[in-house]
Amino acid sequence: MAAAEPYTPSAAGAAPGSRARAGGRGRGRGLSIASASLLVIITLIAVFAPVLAPYSTIQPVGLPQLPPGSGGFLFGTDAIGRDVLSRVLIGWQSSWFAALAVIASGLVIGGIIGLVAGTLGGVADTILMRITDGFLALPAPVLAIAVVAALGPGFTHTLIAVGIVWWPFYARIVRGEIRTLRARPHVEAARLAGAGTLRIAMKHLLPGAIPAAVVTASLDVGNLVLTLAALSFLGLGQPQPAAELGADTARNLPYLLQEWWIPVIPGIAVMIMALASNVAGDGVRNLLGDR
């Protein structure tokens, strides 16, 4: 679940890419910016995937089962002669946008619940956090599968299902930040100046909680890419013949031993996307996190 890599500043040294964090400036800072900009590169590839893709993803465009590099197909063709490169690019787009959509919904839902619980405190805090803990105590991917199964398989349903199970971690992070901020002098000053609860929450508490939430999200997006790929692999994504990285691996498993590239290349694309987002997440943490 989202908790695979909890955001704890003291444990920051755990991540291999974090040696750059020693100084927030100079070479370390440049390296962090370079890592963080991987997010932009992943997104650019996703946005321009339809332009970059040389062929149709649905129609056969060559002989079936051509190995990579032959016949002008960089990644070869699949069992019915579709261009693997084109399918991987379009699959990249849907995987990445799906991950961003779920992260965004996690940030918004979790952020609102964390903000309300942290600001109000008392009974509201207890109830909201008990519900959050309840969700955290269940295996999120398995629960997501059950939600999809109930709603009926489909891409939108999968996104909704993962969104439903992906917010609790953010609620905890935001609520924790808010509780710390509430004790700060500037919040006390605002309260003495007569600011209402809503104004304090929006103007004085929320801005302070955003960096931690963003850092958590950027460290989390790689996990989400992997989880969504696993669900797609299990057949919970878009139906045939849409190009999807996890599903393209699963459906082409029968070709593994002879035409390995058909199932393997989409899987490698998932790995590259997850690796790049993890490196970028470390970069974002180094830039925003350790304060």
Partner: protein, 332 residues
């Protein structure tokens, strides 16, 4: 200690009941009508009414939930729309394979985690390699690892089998259901060895994701622990280095690694579902994969409840173990 255990068990019970409530509501939300699913599209209105009454669907929701809970307590998970058998009967034949895979996966994960943590913490030339492994492992989808394993160890080297649990046509079916154990109990070590060979690739594929997360936590607490004051004190009073590491540092590091292990079991379960698909492993993942396209909600909710309860149970045990490893937890 007793109070703590009671508290943890109470919390676990509440979460399990909440999970059953969620499953019940999802069943109600599901567009598949159980009566139609059972009787087929051409059933007469009278038969539908009769079946609705027999299933208790004409009663108010709270009453339905109570009878659902009561059924669960008696091990009834409903009837599968697809196989037309009780889900509990179906699960009974799939659970042992999944249990064996999960147990080996967890064991491999813990071993790998310790190797990764120590390998990347020690000052030696291989540390960089281990750090790269930690990073790559965190980004590798389990299914990619699984098919890479098949290509290398089955297709290329021919060392390990790629599908199923056993090469034996009639492996022993009892008493534990775990083939590696049953082979020994029946006095046939060849069956155990064969089952183990079948387990290696899937269990490793299942293990890598949790191993990397546990390894990272263990590594960071090892690094932090070795530099702390109590280590200096322990060394100053003349304790040997192994005594310092095992009795002081490792014990302190265990709590963090343990709680990460508990959390990772949830991820591991979803890994198990995927890996069973790749290796044609006859476990609940196979059952789930066949149930999803058939919109067989009772079967899916049965698997979810099973894995959910397993996850809650593991984490409850982890909580209690943590309190034993670190007495400070009991006081808070």
């Amino acid at each position: 200690m007793t109070a703590l255990i009671a508290k943890r068990l109470g919390a676990a019970l509440i979460i399990v009941v909440a999970l059953t409530a969620v499953m019940f509501l999802l069943q109600k939300l599901s567009p598949t009508d159980p009566v139609h699913a059972m009787l087929g599209p051409s059933a007469s209105p009278a038969a539908i009414l009769h079946e609705e009454h027999a299933l208790g669907l004409d009663r108010p929701l709270p009453a339905q939930f109570l009878s659902y809970l009561n059924g669960l307590l008696h091990g009834q998970l409903g009837m599968s729309y697809r196989t037309r058998r009780p889900v509990s009967t179906d699960l009974g034949s799939f659970v042992p394979a999944t249990a064996e895979l999960s147990l080996y996966g967890l064991a491999f994960a813990l071993i790998l985690a310790v190797i990764l943590a120590i390998g990347s913490t020690l000052r030696w030339p291989g540390a960089t390699l281990f750090r790269v492994l930690l990073m790559a492992g965190a980004a590798t989808p389990a299914f990619l690892l699984a098919i890479a394993g098949i290509l290398l160890f089955y297709s290329k080297l021919g060392w390990l089998p790629a599908t199923g649990r056993s090469d034996y046509a009639n492996p022993p079916t009892g008493p534990t259901g775990l083939l590696t154990l049953d082979g020994l109990l029946h006095g046939e070590p060849a069956i155990t060895f064969d089952a183990f060979k079948h387990l290696v690739l899937p269990a490793l594929a299942v293990a890598v994701v949790p191993a990397v997360s546990i390894g990272r936590v263990l590594r960071s607490s090892l690094v932090a622990g070795m530099g702390s004051d109590y280590v200096r004190t322990a060394r100053a009073k003349g304790l040997s280095e192994p005594a310092v590491v095992f009795r002081h540092v490792l014990r302190n590091c265990l709590t963090a690694a343990l709680s990460m292990t508990g959390l990772q079991v949830g991820l591991m379960f979803s890994g198990v579902l995927v890996i069973e698909e790749v290796f044609a492993w006859p476990g609940v993942g196979e059952y789930m994969a066949q149930s999803i396209p058939a919109a067989d909600f009772p079967a899916i909710s049965g698997v979810t409840l099973l894995l959910g309860v397993g996850y809650v149970a593991v984490n409850t045990v982890v909580d209690i173990l943590q309190a034993i490893a670190d007495p400070r937890i009991q006081q808070s």
